[in-house]
Symmetry: C2
Subunit: 264 residues, 2 copies
């Protein structure tokens, strides 16, 4: 499994990915899933990959070969992230079509997905997600993040904290790390190293990046600080307005009694 | 879908469930999923149900009929939660077997699951989960909670805050509500009313219960308070030790470059 996410705000873009790859619990290894294909001062372009590794590798290799061969339809020749996402979608369709017959025959899941984030000179920063079927969608101001892979564990913290207009980039980066940390804690098929990249809007050059390996002291510190804060947050939550149960309450007063529903 | 959870600590037990039921996005209604089958001063017994509603209703009705008919093998005649879980597992197997042929023929998901929590006089408080196949397991001190239904969104907050020895019951109840709230926010097939029950160990009588309907003012207050605390918590997180990118950095220094992996 994999977990990658991108967050877009007025201030810019954060993208993050784990590096664990597994073909069953008995074959676990590590593979890079966040790639920087920027052309400094011309465009920033970050791509995350999830799903069947042989498919995403083949697609990424095809993308690079098209650039090198300078075919008319290559990623660097495209002037919008929309066109770039459409191009990656088409590569995905082609590669999956070449493999479909053999994969289906042995019931192998060969689906894959991509996040594409960045900014092309003259355009606004954007963030896209490309599905296994080659169609794609764009992050909006209402939901300014996109996720691929094992997405559920890390979603609540994004829902509760990220706002397009207000969230600062360093906050978005910490939120991305906590979202990944929550996922790693719940699903062992998501794991370090974590790659993290931060892009300030309109600078047209990747601003910062970092990598957190297994047991990284910062990851431990951010987790400890977070859990301490959560416990403190509990103490400031309003008290629940409980119904105290009377000693002589009969079955009818108890709305949790199954007798309200199930005649015996 | 459904989301139910149980939390067991040294101090007692908290159980909570949503009430939404759906047969597709175009048929959404409400059904109780947390039931109190206690015999005050003899035993506390709470049951949560998830999965195919026609199956769980049939199983719950069978459980009540066996009690009413005082068959030898009825739930009130059992003296441990282990035996009760085994009995519910056997009822599940029987009811699913009666329906399997017709459900499979039309590819209908008829799986279901249960949480069973409480205390029988002379025993310790316990919490069990019963699978659709009738097998069951018990919550442990290491992972003192169990979930059924749409479990992923609400798991991180449990992982980060619940500890068997230390967590107070009112904290566990608030955590259960936040876990449900996170799930409702991400999956519209989980929804109010929320039923919540709290049991103090060794009292042999359900201590407190409450219900939160759509738009309940406490639910709104707890959500607002929580999100405010989370944002404050972000501000106290340690700063990330970024690698600032040099203006003239070449491709080799960039470990995010796909050229490290994909020869073109």
């Amino acid at each position: 499994m994999t977990y990658c996410l991108g967050i877009i705000t007025r201030a810019g873009l954060v993208m993050a990915a784990d590096s664990r790859t597994s073909a069953g619990a008995d074959y676990v290894s590590s593979a890079q899933k966040l790639f920087d294909l920027s052309l400094p001062r011309e465009r920033v372009l970050l791509i995350c990959t999830a799903g069947n590794l042989s498919m995403t590798q083949t697609i990424m290799a095809k993308i690079r070969r098209d650039i090198k061969d300078q075919v008319p339809d290559n990623l660097n020749a495209m002037s919008t992230l929309h066109d770039i996402s459409d191009y990656i979608g088409r590569q995905t369709r082609e590669v999956l079509d070449q493999n479909r017959h053999w994969m289906n025959r042995d019931n192998i899941d060969y689906s894959c997905s991509f996040l594409v984030g960045g900014q092309v000179r003259g355009e606004s920063p954007e963030l896209y997600m490309i599905y296994s079927q080659g169609n794609f969608l764009r992050a909006t101001k209402e939901t300014p993040y996109l996720q691929i892979g094992e997405i559920k564990y890390g979603k609540p913290i994004l829902d509760r904290t990220i706002e397009y207009e207000e969230t600062q980039l360093d906050e978005a980066a910490k939120c991305a790390l906590l979202s990944l940390d929550s996922t790693m804690k719940s699903n062992i098929s998501v794991g370090p190293p974590i790659n993290l990249a931060l892009y300030e809007a309109d600078t047209l050059k990747l601003t910062r990046r970092c990598q957190f390996k297994e047991g990284d002291s910062y990851l431990i510190r951010i987790r400890t600080s977070w859990e301490k804060s959560l416990r403190r947050a509990f103490q400031s939550l309003p008290e629940i307005d409980w119904i105290e149960l009377a000693e002589d309450e009969d079955d009818l007063g108890n709305w949790l009694s199954p007798s309200n529903i199930y005649t015996a």
